[in-house]
Symmetry: C2
Subunit: 229 residues, 2 copies
DNA sequence: ACAAATTTTTAGATTTGCCTAAAATTTAAT
DNA sequence: ATTAAATTTTAGGCAAATCTAAAAATTTGT
């Protein structure tokens, strides 16, 4: 395969930049700003500029001075490969090693850089080709293809509707632990009963149990909207 | 834990040096030579000297100029930790991902550097606390303890004796593939029928089947000597 | 024992990836 | 539109890990 030449020469640091640029590029459609990359990676803008030049020479990003950066087709494919590995390892950690969903990220950040096609394809098979990671995010297939699940934020749905909880927007350990503590997990049936006008907090029914959650919580939970309950 | 402070600051390169010094130190009881390290790691003696100095400052090795190098107690513990990880990952690759025993080394070389105590202990549990890796080498426990199995080289046993094949001395892909091709695997019952005076080759019976192997092959196969057959 | 060969170390350079400080460019504000 | 503010890049430096070439120490051979 053609792209392998490139993939196998990439350093850990280069891979992390590519991944960050990919994630930032998803949000806005525009070019990604140097400062944004630096902030997310907890490094300095000057370091980012350095790296961007190197990535540009390897044809992983499109770069024009002062104009921000975007991934090339090759960069995009590379990013999806790394994300595939990250998310498959997350599934492995939860399914096979009993990690909780707030513990997987740190270790997956290391495992995602292991280089072996056979390893990741075998892992995929061991896990029975999962389509989503423990936070509900889609796992790209071998060729980088994946489809975003049809979902919406709980904060956006109308009263008396709901669906199955299928993902989180914020997957920080803090938020995930909060959800654990309150018995909220992927797969739960959630129905919005009432929305408080004053602060936007929601009265919901989750797997039959009634509880109240703030607007912030609701705006970080995805549900698969399919039917009125 | 005290040693963790050190462990978590180690670079991949430092870990590889420690591992190499450990392996070389096993063979001879003496100090390990700079040149020997350089050769095994495919690097230059001057690079080795540089690194040894750094390791010495971190109290991982004992070092006196021109006098070779040996691991400190801390260095030894560190080495055993890395070897534990390497061998557990090898078991994982064979048992769970259907790798063959000649394919595991390269990937395990990468996986052994992943830093997470929880990860490795969970992996240990998933694999049901294996005591030996796919080549028959012992896996250190959490505290670095392990016992060498009571075994001997097939080339050393007397005619009409034998035992179960429990390990290989040379675990290069070349040798392992040769064994596969000839249907020799760990667990086989092997009995020495005759030893050729001329070239030292052996007529053996392996799981009931008769075959002839060279002295070189026999001197790279370990059997658990327990009983005459 | 002493010269020759080998091994080991030093010295100085290179690459990667990061830093700080200062200069260049773009964007925002009045 | 021009200045002020923010962003981005350049320039120069640093640490890790490597290299080559040359110097120092040890070992070996006779």
């Amino acid at each position: 395969m053609y792209f392998c030449v490139n993939k196998y020469l990439m350093t850990r640091s280069e891979e992390n930049y590519i991944k960050t640029i990919f994630h930032l590029g998803r949000k806005g459609t525009q070019e990604v700003a140097t400062n944004a990359i630096a902030e997310l990676m907890e490094t300095k803008p000057s370091s980012v500029t350095d790296m961007i030049k190197r990535l540009s020479e390897k044809d992983l990003v499109n770069y024009k001075r002062y104009q921000g950066v975007s991934l090339t087709a090759l960069g995009n494919k590379t990013a999806l490969g790394i994300i595939r590995k990250h998310r498959l390892w997350e599934v492995f950690l939860v399914e096979k090693l009993d990690f909780s969903w707030d513990e997987v990220h740190e270790v997956a950040e290391q495992l995602e850089h292991i280089k072996s096609d056979k390893l990741i394809d075998s892992l995929d098979r061991l896990l029975a080709f999962p389509k989503f990671d423990p936070h509900g995010d889609p796992i790209p297939d071998k060729n980088g293809g994946f489809k975003e699940r049809d979902r919406e934020l709980l904060s956006e749905v109308a009263i008396n509707t709901g669906g199955v909880c299928v993902g989180v927007k914020d997957s920080s350990a803090t938020f995930l632990k909060f959800l654990d503590k309150n018995g909220i997990a992927l797969g739960n049936q959630i129905k919005v009963m009432e929305i408080e006008e004053f602060d936007g907090s929601l009265n919901i029914e989750i797997d039959g149990r009634k509880m109240q959650i703030s607007h912030v919580i609701a705006s970080n939970l995805y549900i698969k909207a399919k039917d009125e309950i």
